[in-house]
Symmetry: C2
Subunit: 222 residues, 2 copies
């Protein structure tokens, strides 16, 4: 298809598509004349993914470019391509503070990973691990309980989530489709998960704190 059709089918303006092409976010089309190129379904899919990363995932353009490059790096095996693509999405945390809270957080997280049985997570330093330690340290500084016992249920739920996520990734028939799905699900399920958690808070808080009102009265819409 021509650029005009790609624009119409994706809902992305021609100017934005040209920008993505220049920035290397979208693979070039097949040149048919000196001034025209043809695009296929794989361009449409990539375009929708890039737009979703940037618009919904709030991923900066430079990061989206790294993700796309990692997803396309044919020299890596499937696990590593998956990892490289989603890892590019993780902003590295700031330099770790080296205080008691960070020490305590590191201890809790190490014990947690051991209990969860995630050896390769312990062995390969990743931005997510740095973020986890920094966030736990912040909670420790505020005096909230952040020992392994408190973290373990979150870790177990994360393990369950990863099983659902990877099942959805594996529903894709091709290796490229799986990489793309991993990127999309990593980024786009984050707001899904966080907003569901916020909604669950509203429900749980009403159930616990709202006197007799919400339980005694007739359930609206029920």
């Amino acid at each position: 298809m021509r650029l005009a059709e790609l624009s119409e089918r994706s809902g992305v303006s021609a100017a934005t598509i040209k920008y993505y092409l220049r920035e290397g976010l979208l693979q070039p089309g097949e040149r048919v004349t000196a001034t025209q190129a043809a695009y296929g379904e794989e361009h449409l899919r990539r375009l929708r993914l890039v737009r979703a990363l940037i618009q919904i995932g709030k991923v900066p353009v430079a990061v989206a470019r790294e993700v796309v490059a990692a997803a396309e790096d044919a020299s890596l095996d499937h696990h590593l391509r998956l990892g490289a693509a989603t890892q590019a999405l993780s902003r590295a945390p700031g330099p770790a503070e080296d205080d008691e809270a960070t020490e305590a957080a590191r201890g809790s997280v190490d014990a947690l990973l051991k209990q969860l049985g995630w050896p390769c997570v312990q062995d390969e330093p990743s931005p997510a691990l740095g973020t986890l330690v920094a966030s736990v340290a912040a909670l420790v500084r505020l005096g909230y309980p952040c020992d392994t016992a408190h973290l373990l249920p979150y870790g177990r739920l994360a393990a369950d989530l990863a099983v659902f996520d990877l099942d959805t990734v594996q529903e894709q028939p091709t290796a490229d489709g799986q990489i793309e799905a991993a990127v999309a699900l990593t980024v786009l399920y984050e707001p899904v998960l966080l907003s569901l958690r916020r909604l669950a808070h509203i429900h749980e808080s009403a159930r616990r704190f709202r006197g007799g009102e919400s339980t005694a009265g007739p359930r609206p819409g029920a």
Copy 2:
């Protein structure tokens, strides 16, 4: 304690403390002379919370001010203060697109909330609900399965998370402490949860894919 001691104990510079005071993020100390004020443990706790929101939670100063104001609004009951404080943290999603994907997303989310049995979430529009619909719509546009059956396990996990979260909130002995804990846990457990999910992905992906072979297609029996 004097401002210098507050600064030393919190690790926040005197200049930043003065900025927080001017911006209404920190309640004023008790004036002891024309130029000096005394601060207590509640200032220290508030200061640590505000710094964690801004540094770890990446919450903008204006939002942190709203959160603090909502947490202090004595005219609301406990559930509403909790809700108002944490709601102030949610950025409203952009205007919803009104396309087929959004319609489909709204349908899935409505059915999801019904199945989860969260009536008050359906009745009170909240920024989290808008974010959820917009994120699901983005996944629908990319062609990923986002029907109620796919969302339900995430919803159930979110419900479990909320139970842990509210248990921790209720460990706090005072109503003010509970509000503060709700704010801290809402914001600071988000990076904990997301980084644990990323780490779980690394573990699960290594378990499934390591060795180079990509196992395309659904698993037998999945």
